[in-house]
Amino acid sequence: MAREQRIQVTVNGRAYDKVVPVRLSLADFIRENLYLTGTHLGCEHGVCGACTVLMNGRSVRSCLTLAVQAEGAEIVTIEGLRAEDGTRHPMQQAFHENFALQCGYCTPGMLITAIELLRENPDPSELEVREALSGNICRCSGYQAIVNAVLAVARQGAAG
């Protein structure tokens, strides 16, 4: 099997054409080849959720996805959430205003997961928010402020 492979992938709206080792994870590709270090690695075995990104609109664990699996895909990372004019995504703004992050390490995965939730369910109950976030570990906040932020965005009807 070839040790390297060429991939074409769009990340945060920008097209990339790169030759990558076949064993390279999507997370390492995003972080080390594209220098988009906002996506974090917390466990590298798919449990903590910090590395979650959107791939063709669905959340995936970038630590368990190989870069070559992203061939032809559209990827969105935390750096791609802001509007073109630099305005923060409503979810980013709500996290900030609700003190929904402390160390900030889980934040990229939390934001991506929460955005996906509200796209599918614009008016979730608190329990539905907690269920949706239950695959993302936050060690600092006790989750309450994060849940508050997601519910605040839902109330604004600004799921984006």
Binding site: E32, G42, L81, F99, L101, Q102, G142, V147
Partner: protein, 788 residues
């Protein structure tokens, strides 16, 4: 000069949005692993697969041949070149433990580093680790501290008889007499398992040769950059001022990143030896065995009470499984000494005795983790109080009220020699029970029982010593007695203010806190103030962030420095305005006369003072940079009372928290939303500690729970909505501040433990081992064999 401060709306006490969080929410934080220097070599460690073994041979020849491998370093190559970690002497030390950075002759726990591989990429370094051949000669394993202290036990260190790394006996008051004379003596056992801080970001470092003017620069995910700098210099034979340590954005600390470990020091050595940047980032599997563990205690305690349930004496026997080495700097004494010494908590204990030991075992060393020692001290004691209440048929809340140190009794010196003052123990309990409607909860519990459901209610009261100054030890008997930290305030040439301190944040928003305090003290707009908190090259001396001290020290030092800086600004401003200094004040970054007739912006004053210095008399223009050290002397007690209701499923053993009410006294609050996050975050970790988290070892010292699929931390579904209330009273420290980072984990473990035991008692069951996993709950109910 006017002393009128707070002309602005006060910043302290308001939930100022933290600017420091914006990079993190936008994805532009800079964590350790985000740092990529050109030409960096990557390091991976070969780790022991045995808990205890002699190293017969280490053959790295195949690894060295792998293309891309630069160097394979073994322990014997470091001998004589660097100084290994020797356990810090301690009044209560057993024998000495010597920890080589890479194992020499013996390995003493699974995961101990044996070799460091340096390669062009992380992947190649890891490939090379697989090619190293180690011939182990297994030795008898010490895996239980109560067996390990016996005379015939194998030894982890030949220098530690009975495997004691720490041993202390203490008595104050006549405990035996109190036990004899008591109306009732109640005994109980308590066991808490091994924990892991589980920072979501593991440890790591980038070490570089000759960056800037320093021989060695180390970026490190750490809580104590100056302390690291001192010890890097000492162990590598460098002058301290040749070393720079920077703590980048840090993904959680919780005490795990407050100790000194071998791996980062190996990397520093390699950077100097190879004259290239060297990077190591711990992966999660490594983190579970190479970064310190916590707790792991066996406690036997007994209390003597009179007819009304007043405590007469408390006696405890404590064994802590402290692992293979004395954690560097803090020693192995953290858990054994603090659990024992702080067990009375907020309760009046006239006579106290304890025997406590830290016993070496062939496991990962135990180090500091949020609220060191106190969660198990509190939980074991609170469970005992509940048993007293049951036996005397006194309500558990009433029993606690009778024994808490009341405000009118303060200052109160307890039998562990700590003085309680400026703290609201009883008001916290009263507020939690009234807000939570305790009487109604008990009624609902009766109804639930009548319907065949198992409801339990737990109440806990705790005392948390925070912001410890020079007169109160962080770790009793250890050499490391921090208690003095500095802040520099510098008015920049454009009139904005920089606050510099070596108090790194792992999410506590210390920058925002210090900005708020400085804004109030100086009358400078919040948006004109920035902070540097993480870099020994730019910050004045400070010990760092641990032990719920940072807000107390940082804010206190800001207040002291601001007093001097404000006088200088007013004097210079008055001169430039041509008015007496008594007539001016500062508000909203403008110096103006009290009648507001004349004004000059701070920006203009600063520009003139720096760039037109010849126009201002020298004595009125002494420079606008002030450094102040602050020592609060004593610590300040923070407090809380937590009230929890749980439902226990008697078929599955699952525990569900149905109500959680917390009241805390954290002194004067700087930023309410930040404080709320600290408290609720601590409760979440306490929920993990009480119900989920445990590092399990088998008898051969093999860790069985090294992934996040096995070591369970609370998810958003495990943490209920917390109802939080405050009964704050200002401390005696400057500003009235107390620490708030740790206390709530104490209350959470205790209250939940009591609630589970209360539920099981409805069916004649009990529980003595925590976390209260479904299996233990079912054993406690007698559904599974084995007892509680």
């Amino acid at each position: 000069m006017s002393d009128t401060r707070f002309v602005n709306q006060r910043a302290v006490g308001t939930s100022v949005l933290p600017d420091e969080a914006i990079p993190l929410v936008e994805g532009f934080g800079r964590f350790l692993n985000d740092i990529q220097l050109p030409g960096t070599y990557h390091v991976a460690f070969l780790r022991s697969q045995h808990a205890h073994a002699r190293l017969r041979s280490v053959d790295a020849s195949k690894a060295r041949m792998l293309p891309g491998v630069i160097k394979v370093l073994t322990g014997s190559e470091l001998l004589g070149k660097v100084e290994p970690f020797r356990s810090m002497p301690n009044r209560f030390s057993g024998g000495e433990s010597v920890q080589h950075w890479l194992a020499v002759e013996k390995v003493r726990f699974c995961g101990e580093a044996i070799c460091a591989v340096v390669a062009e990429s992380r992947a190649i370094a890891e490939d090379a680790v697989e090619l190293i051949e180690v011939d182990y000669d297994p030795l008898p394993v010490v895996s239980d501290p109560r067996m390990g202290e016996k005379d015939d036990s194998a030894l982890v260190h030949d220098s530690c008889t009975n495997n004691y790394l720490i041993k202390r006996e203490y008595e104050r008051g006549d405990v035996d007499e109190a036990m004899k004379a008591a109306h009732l003596v109640v005994k109980r056992k308590f066991r808490i398992g091994r924990k892991q801080a589980l920072c979501l970001e593991s440890r790591g470092c980038v070490a570089a040769y000759r960056e800037s003017t320093f021989a060695l620069t180390v970026w490190m995910s750490h809580q104590l950059p100056y302390v690291v700098r001192h010890y890097l210099g000492k162990h590598l034979g460098l002058h301290e001022n040749e070393v720079r340590v920077i703590a980048p954005h840090t993904g959680g600390g919780f005490g795990q990143k407050a100790s000194i470990y071998p791996e980062e020091f190996v990397c520093a050595h390699l950077a100097l030896a190879l004259r290239r940047p060297v990077k190591w980032v711990e992966d999660r599997l490594e983190n579970m065995v190479a970064s310190t563990h916590a707790r792991d205690q066996y406690i036997e305690l007994q209390a003597a009470v009179d007819r009304e349930g007043h405590l007469l004496a408390l006696s405890s026997d404590i064994w802590v499984d402290v692992g293979a080495y004395s954690t560097y700097l803090w020693s192995a004494g953290m858990e054994p000494l603090q659990t024992a010494g702080l067990m009375p908590g907020p309760y009046k204990v006239p006579a106290l005795r304890y025997r406590t030991r830290g016993v070496a075992t062939n496991k990962t060393p135990v180090g500091p983790y949020r609220a060191v020692g106190r969660p198990s001290a509190s939980a074991s004691f609170e469970l005992l109080l509940d048993e007293v209440a049951r036996r005397l048929e006194i309500d558990p809340v009433e029993l606690r009220q009778r024994n808490l140190i009341a405000n009118e009794e303060m200052p109160y010196r307890n039998s562990n020699n700590l003085v309680h003052d400026h703290v609201n123990y009883v008001p916290c309990l009263k507020l939690s029970t009234s807000k939570g409607d305790y009487a109604k909860l008990r009624e609902e519990q009766k109804k639930a029982q009548a319907n065949g459901r198992l409801r339990g209610i737990g109440v806990s009261c705790f005392a948390e010593l925070t912001g410890l100054g020079t007169t109160t030890a962080v770790g009793p008997g250890t050499l490391l007695q921090p208690g003095r930290d500095a802040v520099t305030l510098r008015l920049e040439t454009s009139g904005v203010l920089t606050v510099a301190a070596a108090l790194p944040s792992q999410g506590q928003r210390i920058m925002t806190a210090m900005r708020q305090v400085a804004a109030d003290e100086l009358g400078i707009n919040l948006e004109d103030i920035t902070c540097i908190i993480n870099d020994t090259a730019t910050a004045p001396y400070g010990f760092g962030t641990f032990a719920s001290r940072t807000a107390v020290f940082g804010s206190g030092a800001v207040i002291k420095a601001a007093k001097e800086l404000r006088q200088r600004i007013l004097a210079c401003g008055a001169f430039l305005l041509g008015v007496p200094v008594e007539d001016v004040t500062i508000a909203n970054s403008v110096i103006h006369t009290l009648d507001r007739g004349k004004s000059i912006s701070l920006r203009e004053m600063a520009e003139k003072s720096y760039f037109s210095a010849k126009d201002i008399p020298e004595e009125l223009n002494p420079g606008f940079e002030v450094t102040s050290f602050y020592d609060p002397k004593r610590g300040s007690f923070a407090a809380g009372a937590h009230l929890v209701a749980v439902d226990v499923d008697p078929e599955t053993g699952e525990v569900k928290i149905v109500r959680y009410v917390a009241t805390e006294d954290v002194g004067t609050i700087i930023n309410p939303s930040v404080v709320e996050g600290q408290i609720i975050g601590g409760i979440a970790q306490g929920i993990g500690e009480a119900l989920l988290e445990e590092i399990v070892y088998d008898e051969q010292g093999q860790p069985r729970t090294v992934t996040l699929a096995d070591y369970l931390v609370p998810s958003a579904l495990d943490v209920p909505r917390i109802e939080l209330h405050h009964a704050n009273t200002p401390s005696a420290a400057l500003g009235g501040f107390k620490g708030c980072g740790e206390g709530s984990i104490i209350g959470a473990l205790s209250a939940i433990s009591c609630a589970v035991a209360d539920a099981l008692s409805q069916r004649g069951g009990d529980i003595h081992e925590f976390p209260a996993t479904p299996e233990r709950v079912l054993r406690g109910l007698g559904v599974l064999p084995g007892g509680a």
